[in-house]
Every structure is written in C-alpha cells, then in structure tokens.
C-alpha cells in the first residue's frame, strides 16, 4: 500500500509553561530539551509540511503565547493555505495579542480550563492562580471575533462537576467544548491513582455529555472523548502511527505523536538535520509502527486491526515495557489485567506531582 501523507501537523512551539497541570501531554523529560526552534525555522517547517500534504497546523506548547512570534508564524501558515488552530492556557492573552492573532488570520482559538470550580481549577493548574485570567481570556476570544473552543481534561477531581463545566462553557458562549478524559501517559501516568475516575463517574459524565449535546445542538458542539481504560477496545491512536498526523516538538524533534518521547529506544530525527518529507517517509521511527504488518497477535488476526491499529504505542510501552505489543487497554490483550489493577488503585492517592522543570529533571534523571 502507498504510504499516506499527513493531513495534520502539531507544532509544540515551546515546552515552557506558566501552568503545571499534572496530566500535561509534554514528555516527563521536557526540561532537558531546552533549545527552541527560531521563527524562520518554524516557517520553514510549515512550508515543508504544506508541500508534504499537511492542510492543518495546530499550535500548542507548553504555553505558545510565551513566544512573541506566534502571530508571525501563524501568518506564514495562513499564507500557505493551512487551517490554523491555537491552543492556549489563556493566562497570557491580551487584547493586543488577540488582535494580532486575528490579523494574522488565525482560524480557531482554544482556551483550556481545568475545572468550573475556581479553587480546584487553580489547584489543578498549579502555580499562581489562573482561573480568573482564563475566564477573561475566553471572553476576550469572543469579543475579538473568534469562535471559541473550551478544552477541559476530565479526571477524577473534576469529572463530578461536568454539569457545571458545561454550564460554564455555555455561559462563555463557546461554540465547541472538548471534554477529553485523561490519557494516562507521561505526567498523567505518574498521577494515575489521583486522576483516574471510577466507572460510575465516567458513565455519569458520558450520560450528562450526551444529554447536553442533544440539548445544545446547533449552539455548542460537545466532543466527549471516551477514556480507554473503560472501553472494550483501544483507541485508534491518532488514526494510526505515521498515517495522518505528525508533531514537531519545541526543539525540532519530529514525533509520530506528542507523547512518543516516552518510548525509550526510539530515535527522533530533527528538522534541523532532515526535511520533514524525508523523516515522514524514511525515518526508522515513523516506519516502525506504520500500517498493520508489524502488528503482533492477538492484533494480527483481529478483524479490528484496520480500525484501531493495535491501540496506543506509548501506552503499550509505558504499561508493559514493550512498545510493539497490543495496547493493554484492549480487552483482548494478554496484559489487560494491568488495567484492572490500575482501576483498583484509583482514588487511593490524592497527592499530585506537578509538571514543572524541577520534577521533570528529577523524574527523568533515574532513567538516563
């Protein structure tokens, strides 16, 4: 089969962030990757991506707005005809920056909120209080003329307030609300006992999200991402490794997904050394888990293999130590007991390990 071309590129403009969410999707060792691509380098990456077939560029971080050149980078992406999407924590958004982003042609702006409850939102985000700034940012997004998306990562300590979270998004005039259950890789895995909800919580939330979605049809679109620990089959992670999606990390490393750095033993080529096209089509890492030929049993003979591609490689590695086995979230995995064990531990610990540079250097020192 011909190798597909990517539709979507995630640009993690920086790993720096004023927030410290304990389920951050940045790698645990983020603080070891200190060099950042320069403005012209990001622009070149975007040009190469458009030539490769990318039509959508997502900009995130860390906190992308820590960089002053975001409007300039977005303007370049829009000039290439890319659809542009920016995810921010919101705390640094000002009238001036919002106006610059609009003038640069930004298509979609997403603000993350940790909870509808100010105190708990602040506790989750860590560091200085951020909730009030986020609410202000969300209103600013609207008054600047953007359509507003609110992103909320659901976990044990906010999922019980899903009604209030939906009501808050409604009140802010959001057109879209993304309710994504925590994916337990990296930081979230470190904090799993404190963040993993119970089955009853998850089922309640799904019910509430479904009813709200029906009620708000045509006004606010609700995307409820199911948690794979509670499903029979795994997620088709990014619709398959090296199939439609690629990430360029802050330092220029090219990753099949933003958490792939958690898989030890993989080598990630850098845009400073190779073209995106060469990395996509030829690099060992992108070819390794592409398609279905590499799949082990029980996936290889499974009729669902073209639907879920064996699930998440990061999760397989982090839970079993081997990235090339069936995702343990699948009920057919011989290691599915690992999920049951994790569910039994849910809620046994409330202490959070925050995502910050000190923790990053500490937790990643013992694996080097």
């Amino acid at each position: 089969m011909e190798t597909p071309r990517p539709f979507s590129l995630l640009c993690e403009l920086t790993y720096r962030c004023p927030l410290q969410c304990p389920y951050c999707s940045n790698p645990l060792d983020f603080a070891r990757h200190t060099t950042e691509l320069k403005t012209e380098e990001w622009q070149r990456v975007l040009t190469e991506a458009a030539d490769l077939g990318v039509v959508q560029a997502h900009f995130s971080g860390g906190e992308p707005l820590l960089r002053a050149d975001v409007p300039e980078i977005i303007r370049h992406a829009r000039g290439l005809g890319l659809y542009t999407n920016l995810s921010t924590g919101g705390t640094l958004l000002t009238e001036i920056i919002a106006g610059q982003l609009r003038d640069a042609g930004l298509d979609s702006l997403q603000v993350s909120i940790q909870d509808a409850d100010a105190e708990n939102s602040d506790r989750m985000a860590g560091g200085a209080p951020s909730f009030e700034k986020k609410i202000r940012a969300a209103r600013l997004v609207k008054s600047t003329g953007f359509s507003l998306t609110i992103n909320v990562v659901l976990q044990r300590q906010n999922i019980g307030r899903i009604e209030a979270i939906i009501a808050l998004a409604e009140d802010l005039g959001a057109e879209r609300l993304e309710l994504a259950n925590t994916q337990f890789n990296g930081w979230a895995l470190k904090n799993r006992a404190a963040l993993l909800p119970s089955r009853a919580q998850v089922e309640h939330a799904a019910c509430v999200a479904r009813a709200a979605s029906e009620r708000l049809k045509g006004q606010m679109k609700i995307l409820y991402v199911l948690p794979d620990y509670f499903e029979q089959f795994p997620k088709p992670c990014l619709h398959g490794w090296g199939r439609v999606f690629m990430t360029v990390a802050a330092d220029g490393a090219v990753l099949p997904c933003q958490t792939a750095r958690e898989i030890r033993g993989l080598k990630f080529d850098n845009v400073r050394e190779h073209s995106l096209e060469k990395i996509w089509f030829e690099s060992e890492t992108f070819c390794k888990f592409r398609g279905t030929d590499w799949l082990p049993e029980p996936c290889q003979s499974c009729p669902r293999k073209e639907m879920d591609f064996g699930g998440c490689r990061c999760q397989a590695f982090l839970l079993t130590g081997d990235a090339a086995v069936t995702d343990p979230a699948c009920s057919l995995s011989p290691r599915h007991n690992l999920i049951a064990e994790a569910l039994a531990e849910a809620g046994t610990n409330e202490k959070l390990i925050y995502r910050n540079a000190v923790e990053s250097l500490q937790t990643s020192s013992n694996r080097r």
Binding site: D51, G53, D107, S108, R176
Partner: protein
C-alpha cells in the same frame, strides 16, 4: 432537525473553510477538529453556500453547470446540505 426547504439560505460556517488540496488533488473542507475529503458535488454545493442564495437557486446553478435535469440532483443537494448542517459545517437560515 429542520428539513431543507427550497427557500432556505445555507451558509458555510465561519469555522469551516474550503480548500483545494494540490498535493492530493482533492477538494477538502477544513474545520477545527479535522478534515473532510469532499466529492465534486459536495464541493460544488458548498461553494455556493454564501447565505445569500436559496437552495432552489443552488440547485438551478448546478443544473446548468452539470447540464442535467432538476430531478437528477435536487434530492442529492438537499441530502448533502442536511448532512453538513448536522455536522454544523453549514448553517441553514430560513
């Protein structure tokens, strides 16, 4: 769900954008959470969804563009609009 009337005036949603993909040689619809690869008819319908033209006008335009009978495409156009409205890519103003 509102039915698509001849007098409805569909408009491409602000968040969505049509794009000709020169690499794949396909028409695409881009929106915050993804990409839809469009067939020629869906593209041609969407390209006319400016909030000014009524559905009947869109059908008439396509009838002359494709040189076919109204009956051959009327139902198709409405079905396409219905689906896209459900996905919130098109807003239907009566």
């Amino acid at each position: 769900m509102t039915a698509i009337a001849d007098t409805s005036k569909p408009r491409l949603a602000d968040k969505a954008r049509l794009k000709w993909d020169a690499v794949r040689e396909k028409h695409l619809l881009l929106f915050p959470e993804g990409v839809l690869v469009l067939n020629q008819t869906a593209h041609d319908v969407l390209a006319l969804c400016d909030g000014q033209r009524a559905v009947a006008e869109i059908v008439k335009t396509l009838v002359s563009q494709y040189a076919v009978e109204i009956n051959a495409i009327d139902a198709d156009v409405k079905e396409i609009l219905q689906k896209l409205a459900q996905k919130t890519f098109v807003t239907i103003n009566d």
